[in-house]
């Protein structure tokens, strides 16, 4: 039983990180209908910025997180302005290729500056807590609390503020949003900035129990895509639920079925689901 609970806890940790990254992806998709393949690279840049603010500048963990959020949000907005905005009327294949271009560029730049070595990010929260038979590293608790806190904050922002409402409006109906005078450029930039912050914070939370290296975003971005397809592209609750499903499937599958193949589980799930239902689990119609 304790082992099972331990796996549930692991699943929750993984799921909350996946959820954060998938949220950014799904927000961007909802606004621009761009599957942003570069999102994983932004996550990776976030981890590197946090790592170097902590190790080279000697600042504390929270300042590093803020720095990472700011830098990645800026980069993300820059991508929107320079790349996705000019391509907004191009055939859909073009922005996918452009996103791949950004991904390749960011990875190459990081690798040139900081090398391809695996690095371990330090964290001030190294205690290990015990509840009954459960052992919980403090960082994992921080991940869960941080991720869900951020999701809650995002929910409030989208539902309670005017700018948040404009984002939702544009995701629901583009033309309708223009009709009531919503500035598309502002909303797009805002969305990309939020997506960037979510990715960077996710990276800073997750990096201490994982490793930091240039290809760290690859697997994660693919899983995030699986999640948003599961949850319906553009759906915010879908991204969170999908993230938890994949997180639990991996933790439990990795423990009870095969640890070797645990990374395949998410993709196998996707293949099975899309074979049965080509529009994804929670989508209402095909876009």
């Amino acid at each position: 039983m304790d082992l099972f609970l331990q796996q549930v806890l692991n699943g929750l940790t993984l799921g909350s990180i996946y959820g954060l990254v998938a949220l950014g992806l799904t927000l961007v998709y909802g606004i621009l209908h761009v599957p942003n393949f570069a999102h994983g690279a932004l996550y990776m840049v976030g981890a590197y910025v946090a790592y170097f603010t902590m190790v080279d500048l000697g600042l504390n963990y929270w300042l590093a997180m803020i720095a990472a959020g700011a830098v990645v949000a800026f980069l993300s907005v820059l991508c929107e302005r320079l790349v996705f905005h000019p391509l907004r009327n191009a055939p859909p294949i073009h922005d996918k290729i452009a996103a791949i271009g950004i991904l390749l560029f960011l990875e190459a730049v990081v690798q040139m500056y900081w090398g391809a070595d695996f690095r371990r990010m330090p964290t001030p929260y190294t205690e290990i807590l015990h509840f009954g038979g459960l052992t919980i590293p403090a960082q994992r608790l921080l991940i869960i609390a941080g991720a869900f806190g951020l999701m809650g904050a995002l929910h409030l922002y989208l539902k309670k503020t005017m700018t948040g409402a404009t984002i939702i409006a544009m995701a629901q109906n583009r033309e309708g949003a223009f009709l009531v005078g919503i500035d598309a450029n502002r909303v797009a930039m805002m969305t990309f900035a939020i997506a960037g912050v979510l990715a960077a914070v996710g990276a800073t939370l997750f990096a201490p129990i994982n490793l930091v290296y240039p290809a760290m975003g690859h697997l994660l971005i693919m899983k995030a895509f699986v999640i948003i397809i599961l949850g319906g592209m553009g759906s915010i609750p879908g991204a969170i639920v999908g993230g938890l499903i994949i997180g639990f499937a991996e933790a439990l599958g990795g423990f009870y079925i095969s640890n070797e193949y645990k990374d395949v589980i998410a993709f196998a799930l996707l293949v099975v689901i899309l074979s049965v239902k080509p529009t994804g689990l929670f989508t209402k119609g095909v876009r």
């Binding site: 599957p35 859909p92 996918k96 290729i97 452009a98 271009g101 991904l103 397809i229 293949v271």
Partner: protein
């Protein structure tokens, strides 16, 4: 000027290129250059496959590198572990490409646009993971060494660079010829119709699923055959062949040359390969240049070198035609102004 332009779209250019390719090993005394050229030709074959599904049919397939690796692994496993000769293994690789392509295609092509791209990205990754983890079959992350080279006949020995170069060249010419036949056939037109609009194509009575799967299987057979040749020349392969980076490289080749054009894949592959060779020290960081280049290309030159040239030529011809008609009835000029699109299409199929 006009004669030069016509030369570029005439079959003469293709023959000239072929002659150039045939005499290349005779004028170049650097064996390494011939080797680079031969591997570039192999990649070009794979890119031609990608052009069928992505260029003509309009579906961005991100598992192409995975199918390349499947071809390479079939040859490697059959020749090393089961003692097959290269040529039977080569045919088996092509068949494996077709079978896996069919299976993946039937499932993935029910999905549209973004879903298809994401799905194939995941398929590519599953292929990579399986090659790395399934040690009993694929030797795991160590890779497979001592793959049998293609058997020669008579005095011809394909383990030497120059004969191998001609072998690959022959396959390349065959591939280009097949694609050029394809693009002019009804089937090629059908693919183009699907690229332009699924719904329109369907309303013309085109069976979307059957044609898309056919295009997909053709492309995976190209990829697997290219992978098999690659295994024959490099003679050592590992799971890294299935890395998504190779797929991204192929997209770059395709986009630089001109997506959906006949000579684009070849020109793009050769241009980028030699550019990379010249910037050898940059090999690892080539993406710092190629990444932004991809972005700039899709924003400003989405049709690549060949497509860009054809567009420019089409516009020029149209301008000239409308200038000549200036004095004539307005009806005629509206008619000719309608032609550049058709003209471009025509040229696109011939170039």
């Amino acid at each position: 000027m006009d004669r030069l332009m016509n030369f570029f779209v005439s079959p003469v250019l293709k023959w000239a290129l072929l002659v150039l390719a045939v005499v290349f090993p005779l004028i170049s005394d650097n064996e390494y250059h011939i080797y680079v050229m031969a591997t570039a030709f192999i990649w070009a074959i794979a890119v031609y496959g990608m052009n069928i599904i992505t260029g003509y049919c309009g579906q961005l397939n991100l598992a192409h590198g995975g199918f390349f690796a499947i071809g390479a692994y079939v040859v490697a496993i059959l020749t090393v572990d089961h003692g097959w000769a290269f040529w039977p293994a080569f045919i088996a690789a092509g068949l494996a490409g077709a079978i896996f392509g069919f299976l993946v295609g039937v499932v993935s092509l029910r999905l549209k646009e973004h879903y298809f791209a994401i799905f194939t990205l995941c398929v590519g990754f599953i292929i990579y993971l399986l090659l790395e983890k399934w040690e009993a079959l694929t030797h795991g992350s160590l890779g497979i060494i001592n793959i049998a080279p293609p058997e020669g006949f008579g005095f011809v020995d394909f383990t030497e660079t120059v004969p191998f170069y001609y072998l690959v060249l022959a396959f390349l010419v065959l591939s280009v010829w097949l694609v050029s036949r394809l693009s002019r056939s009804l089937l090629g037109r059908t693919f183009l119709a699907i690229r332009i609009s699924d719904d329109l194509a369907q309303s013309l009575g085109i069976n979307l699923m059957r044609n898309k799967v056919l295009a997909f299987v053709l492309s995976t057979v190209y990829a697997a055959s290219a992978g098999a040749l690659y295994a024959g020349v490099v003679r050592f392969i590992g799971p890294a062949e299935a890395d998504v980076v190779h797929t991204f490289d192929m997209i770059t080749y395709l986009l630089v040359g001109g997506i959906g054009t006949l000579m684009g894949p070849l020109l793009g592959t050769l241009a980028i390969t030699w550019l990379t060779q010249m910037l050898q020290s940059l090999e690892e960081y080539r993406m710092i240049i190629f990444g932004p280049m991809l972005v700039i290309l899709v924003i400003f030159f989405p049709r690549g070198i060949v497509g860009g040239f054809l567009t420019w030529r089409g516009r020029r011809l149209a301008n000239k035609a409308s200038q000549q008609d200036q004095g004539g009835e307005s009806q005629a000029s509206t008619q000719t102004s309608g032609t550049p699109g058709a003209d471009k299409q025509e040229a696109g199929n011939n170039a």
